[in-house]
């Protein structure tokens, strides 16, 4: 992922605009990506320090009509993201340091003007005990420093694909400085929406979703503290949400950003058609939910867990995106499940309003005790219930409640 300082953007009044990705610029990016990828591939087996030096050398020699260091650094960063380095053997290096430095401390204390501390002799003695040379011992002392890690593999994106996705990568970095994002999305495939909404939940953003008359949704994204103080507190999450937004057939975003050293408030707009990116893959279930599903499936209850339920939309009232649906084997009864977790009381009240407005599907909401809401708020609803959990979501408690909901007359 790019960082904000690697983005080439210009101010136009109150707007922030990326430098247009015309064919010439794309060709330059592709050429740079190809050169850097080649260098990275050739450096497999070298240390991180050697790779850095080789990339810098490659950058210095980049044959560009007008050298643009920021563009070069940005492409370099995206290529670097494809590199995997070895895990250093920190234990061995730390043990060697401990031994050598303790011996050195004792030797220095015992030294005298007539027999001064002798570094070389100390390393030679340690090397003899190991059957190696002093140079090897010395090199091993800091063998776990990041600069010494070896490049194991390079799996960067093909240069043409990197160039095609470069503008999106820059937009993502701009969103690191965003305080608020409004996205308009449209897709023919319900699965794309599900993936998008699941990503937003996974990132713990608070989306306010409105269905648009012409089709699609308008999504306003921020976090709970934005009410309290505008800031780029959720910039990373907003940036990470972009690939999922850009996975829709048509999309546009409008973001309030704080840009430059003076963090000047500017408006940023970008949009386009579906962009396939590796990062747009649907996230797996959050840990707390994955653990619950495993426990639930162990109950052998006669209920199946559907991990990809539909988005529930009540026109005019709002929508919700369940995490799961439970399907009863004997009669096909279906109960949706949404985890509201530890996040926001506001989200709970929005769901309660949605149920009261007539959401027809059966649904169980789960909220943490920390949100200080009572299960009684949905006691009278025949289609929905609230389960308040203390530390973990208890599979049996959920089973009891979905059985009751499934059997309740509506």
């Amino acid at each position: 992922m790019l960082t904000a300082d690697l983005v080439t953007a210009r101010r136009r009044g109150d707007e922030l605009r990326l430098v247009a990705a015309d064919p010439r610029r794309r060709a330059r990016i592709e050429a740079l990506a190809a050169a850097f990828s080649e260098i990275a591939r050739a450096q497999i087996g070298s240390t991180r320090q050697q790779l850095d030096a080789a990339l810098d050398e490659g950058a210095a020699g980049a044959d560009l009509p007008s050298p643009d260091r920021r563009l070069i650094a940005a492409v370099q960063k995206l290529v670097y993201d494809g590199c995997s380095f070895e895990e250093p053997d920190a234990e061995t290096a730390a043990a060697l340091r401990r031994e050598i430095f303790r011996r050195a401390a004792a030797a220095r204390r015992a030294a005298s003007p007539s027999a001064p501390f002798d570094r070389g002799a100390l390393l030679e003695a340690a090397a003899r005990e190991r059957g190696t040379t002093a140079a090897v011992v010395e090199a091993g002392l800091y063998g776990d420093r990041p600069a010494r890690q070896r490049l194991l593999a390079f799996a960067g994106r093909p240069p043409a694909m990197l160039a095609a996705g470069f503008e999106l990568a820059e937009a993502q970095a701009v969103l690191l400085r965003a305080t608020r994002v409004t996205a308009s999305v449209r897709s023919r495939d319900a699965g794309t929406y599900r993936q998008l909404f699941r990503t937003l939940k996974f990132l713990r953003l608070l989306p306010v979703v409105e269905a648009v008359a012409q089709g699609g949704y308008r999504i306003t994204l921020d976090g709970p503290l934005s009410l309290f103080q505008g800031g780029t507190r959720y910039g990373l999450q907003l940036g990470l949400a972009l690939p999922a937004i850009a996975g829709c057939d048509s999309w546009s975003i409008e973001a309030d950003v704080r840009w430059g050293a003076d963090r000047r408030p500017l408006r940023f707009r970008i949009g386009g058609g579906a962009v396939a990116t590796a990062a747009a893959e649907a996230p797996s279930l959050p840990d707390e939910l994955a653990g619950f599903v495993t426990a639930f499936e162990r109950l052998d209850s006669g209920w199946r867990v559907d991990r990809e339920p539909a988005v529930l939309d009540l026109p005019g009232a709002g929508m919700c995106v369940p995490d799961l649906a439970f399907v009863r084997g004997r009669d096909g009864a279906r109960v949706h499940f949404e985890l509201l977790g530890f996040w926001s009381r506001e989200a709970v009240w929005r769901r309660v309003e949605l149920v009261r407005a007539g959401l027809p599907q059966k649904i169980l909401f789960a909220a943490s005790k920390g949100l200080r809401v009572g299960e009684a708020v949905l006691d009278e609803s025949p289609t929905a219930a609230l389960y308040v959990f203390a530390r973990v979501i208890a599979a049996k408690q959920v089973l009891d409640r979905i059985e009751r909901l499934a059997d309740a007359a509506t």
Binding site: A105, R108, P146
Partner: protein
């Protein structure tokens, strides 16, 4: 809010408050030193909101324990590093004899006494803002940044205590501490507690100027010439507040500028790690072979060079927590005689009773320099601490050194 509405005496149904009172107070009771008792009284007189300024080694932690014991509200202690979080965890657990929660470093365990890093407090305060009645901001000069300030703004705690040795910030934002924590309610500096009180060890500071060899001098002056020439040609006033950022921005725009930036770094590196300096480090380590010594550098490269050359353990941001603890314990048990570090040990972390500090290189920051001196001032019978500052002659270091010594502790 009650104050803001001018109706402090009205009965209020406070539904925001989610914190409780501590069932038990401190189980370890130690007579506070007079200045600690004065600091607590001054803080109490300010309705339990304010900043206490005491030098390193003067026992700020104990002032906080006294404040927690006095208020007996659920308390969050916020500290800048994981080392400090661990230190606070040990102190609170021993002092209050109850399980202590930790937020940060991969842990999330909230209890009525909890310690957090600034990073984690900033991340989680929106969920935890109602849970604590007292928040202690250790090294509170970190708080007034735009991100960390949220940790103070998003919590409802009526009682707030800031602790620091040096509240002033170069960006002037220390004024925000008034709103975030409260005013400075008590202040004593190194000189007050060392010369008069005897609560800190007496000390001497020795400034040693070393000369560059002819080759290094030539390389230094040549690099400095390139850098100065660029600055002059572009009309950049390095002494102005925006001088450095002007230079960085202009340097990034042209090949000429990039060469000037490289030259700037080269002359600085030569000054930081002048061969004569490192030779002198060897002499000092030999001279003080029976003492515990801390060596400070401005950059990691010099710290690693000293570690490699003199075979002394090194602590940098790359050092894993377990190894860092082992090194500090090794200095305490005598297994090690010296530690070299760049900036990691500048503040807070309790170092065993070291007597010698060697500042091989540093920034112009008065705070950093005072903190480094503070590392060796823990009082002990018969101890006299010594701080050496190595400065390379006729380089920017002479100017940098003069600026960082602009404090009563060095007069």
């Amino acid at each position: 809010m009650r104050r803001a509405f001018g109706r402090a005496d009205d009965a209020v149904d406070d539904r925001a408050r989610g914190y409780g009172e501590l069932a038990l107070g401190a189980r370890v009771v130690r007579e506070p030193r007079p200045y600690q008792a004065e600091a607590l009284a001054a803080w109490q007189a300010q309705q339990g909101r304010g900043v206490v300024v005491l030098p390193t080694g003067a026992g700020k932690t104990w002032v906080a324990c006294l404040a927690i014991d006095a208020k007996r509200r659920s308390t969050l202690v916020v500290a800048p590093t994981l080392d400090l979080v661990r230190q606070w965890y040990d102190v609170l657990r021993t002092t209050f004899g109850v399980p202590v929660g930790v937020i940060g470093g991969g842990e999330y365990d909230v209890r009525s006494l909890t310690v957090s890093t600034y990073d984690s407090a900033h991340l989680h305060m929106e969920h935890l803002g109602d849970r604590f009645g007292l928040v202690v901001f250790d090294e509170c000069h970190h708080l007034p940044g735009p991100a960390y300030a949220l940790a103070a703004r998003a919590c409802v705690a009526p009682f707030r205590l800031g602790l620091t040795a040096t509240p002033e910030r170069a960006d002037g934002r220390h004024a925000d501490l008034d709103e975030l924590v409260g005013p400075i309610v008590y202040r004593k500096d190194i000189v007050d507690l060392s010369h008069a009180g005897g609560y800190l060890a007496p000390y001497d500071t020795v400034r040693l100027t070393v000369e560059l060899g002819p080759d290094d001098r030539r390389a230094h002056d040549e690099a400095r010439g390139i850098y100065r020439d660029f600055v002059a040609r572009n009309g950049i006033r390095m002494s102005s507040p925006s001088g450095w950022s002007d230079f960085v921005i202009r340097a990034a725009r042209s090949e000429d500028g990039r060469r000037a930036m490289a030259a700037y770094r080269r002359q600085r590196d030569i000054a930081f790690a002048a061969p004569a300096k490192l030779d002198y480090v060897g002499l000092l380590l030999d001279r003080h072979r029976g003492d515990r010594t801390l060596l400070f550098t401005q950059d990691n490269a010099t710290a690693y060079e000293i570690s490699r050359r003199f075979l002394v353990p090194i602590i940098t941001h790359e050092t894993r927590v377990r190894e860092r603890s082992e090194i500090i314990a090794g200095l305490a048990d005598g297994g090690y005689g010296a530690i070299v570090t760049s900036k990691v040990l500048n503040e807070g972390v309790d170092i065993p009773d070291a007597a010698i500090a060697i500042v091989v290189s540093g920034s112009a920051s008065v705070r950093e320099h005072v903190q480094r001196l503070g590392r060796v001032l823990r009082a002990r019978e018969g101890k006299r601490a010594l701080l050496y500052e190595l400065v390379t002659a006729q380089t920017t270091e002479t100017f940098t050194s003069a600026r960082r010594r602009d404090h009563s502790a060095y007069r």
